[in-house]
Symmetry: C2
Subunit: 252 residues, 2 copies
């Protein structure tokens, strides 16, 4: 049964302010929720399932409150066009930022706005073995449900930090970690001689990298445009750019 309190909680968690207040977020769908339940470090607090799923079939820890709900009730709490059979309320993990991050490959985002883009990027990063993602504080919330869904569970396997990017890049400079910035003009990513290790900075979907951060980039890189058309496509989608850059980093 779906209580009024749970209905209210789940609806509130659609808003960032309630996610911040409670430290909780929502994940929906069989694949992602099953994965959340399987991973020890992911703390599922509440689980809602329609009768299609017996909780016996799922590995549910003793700390999980679980509730069977009707399909009608699932519709009330789901944000998917086609509601799934599982919805979980999950505790945000504690992410502790330490300087070890500066020794790893990091994807950094200046004001990324689209939740689908961020989720797809997290999925891509995990595929290519990149564990750390850093976003400016004005970026879309990583626990926005559209981000969670688009990440296809990769959100549980990567670390996403929200920081003051200016401070972060200042620290990188201090520690001599190279900062690569992706621009529409720069050194051809396929012929960059430097080892592709360090921080890879990407800009906002329409505005690119802000001038303040641009000044902190060690090397500007670009994905060359191969179009033969007179009117060229002006830019790649940010998630597509990230896929190309991650591919180049990993291939080498």
């Amino acid at each position: 049964m779906l209580s009024q309190n749970n209905l209210k909680l789940i609806r509130q968690l659609r808003q960032k302010k309630y996610r911040e207040k409670t430290g909780l977020f929502i994940a929906e769908g069989e694949k992602i929720v099953t994965e959340a339940l399987q991973q020890e470090q992911v703390k599922v607090k509440k689980l809602f399932f329609t009768d299609a799923h017996s909780p016996k079939l799922l590995k549910i820890g003793p700390d999980v409150d679980f509730f069977e709900v009707t399909e009608q009730e699932m519709k009330q709490i789901s944000q998917l066009e086609t509601p799934s059979t599982l919805l979980a309320v999950i505790q945000k993990p504690l992410t502790v930022f330490d300087d070890a991050v500066f020794k790893e490959t990091v994807l950094a985002f200046d004001f990324i706005q689209d939740p689908g883009n961020l989720g797809t990027i997290i999925r891509t990063a995990d595929w290519f073995g990149i564990h750390y993602i850093v976003c400016s504080r004005n970026s879309v919330d990583v626990y926005n449900q559209k981000v969670v869904q688009a990440s296809m569970g990769a959100i549980f396997r990567t670390q996403v930090f929200f920081v003051d990017l200016k401070d972060f890049l200042t620290k990188a400079r201090l520690l001599k970690t190279p900062v690569f910035g992706t621009f529409l003009s720069g050194e051809n990513i396929y012929s960059v001689e430097n080892s592709l290790h360090g921080i890879f900075l990407f800009g906002n979907e329409s505005k690119g990298i802000s001038p303040t951060l641009e000044a902190m980039v060690n090397k500007k890189i670009t994905i060359p445009n191969f179009s033969r058309n007179e009117n060229k496509t002006e830019s790649l989608n940010i998630a597509s750019s990230v896929a190309v850059i991650c591919s180049e980093i990993s291939r080498r």
Copy 2:
């Protein structure tokens, strides 16, 4: 002014059956509509603008009917969250399929469903100089407005064909055009020795390539998973996979 007839037409064009019946589709937004007006081969039939835009500033051919509408009227016809100042009704181009396609690099899609994915893929293809895209007939319509928007105008610079993929691949075999299929296991894309020229086949977002088409692939290729996590991300987003494959094709 927005007439009842135009309001009705634009609303009908949200549905594929009316786009097929009339041979028309919708594009919205300053960038994409301005681009449509600039390109000779794109036939804009009707143009709706709010008073923010003087039609004198736009290069409007004699065949374009144009209508100044209020912001309120634009809201009625727009499908964007934030309506733009321009909306165009455009005639679908005549795409004539000929065998020259088999000499070019082609991206082929078996039942691609998500309009955002297809639009992003068209944008990526154009960036990497790939002109031909072939989709199975059960794929999402390329003139779906979400596809048009996500393509960022690249839809005007590429050719997208809807065909019976089985017939298409049979013909490819006959003409000795190699067919590469993207799978979760196959030859590592980074170390494939063949020249990366031919048809690149991608499967449905959740079901992959159908068994019938799988049997017609000459070489299975894969983007290796670099994740060190025990629970790995199971797949890449299809638009991200396309970006990686296009990058590899172009880099070589």
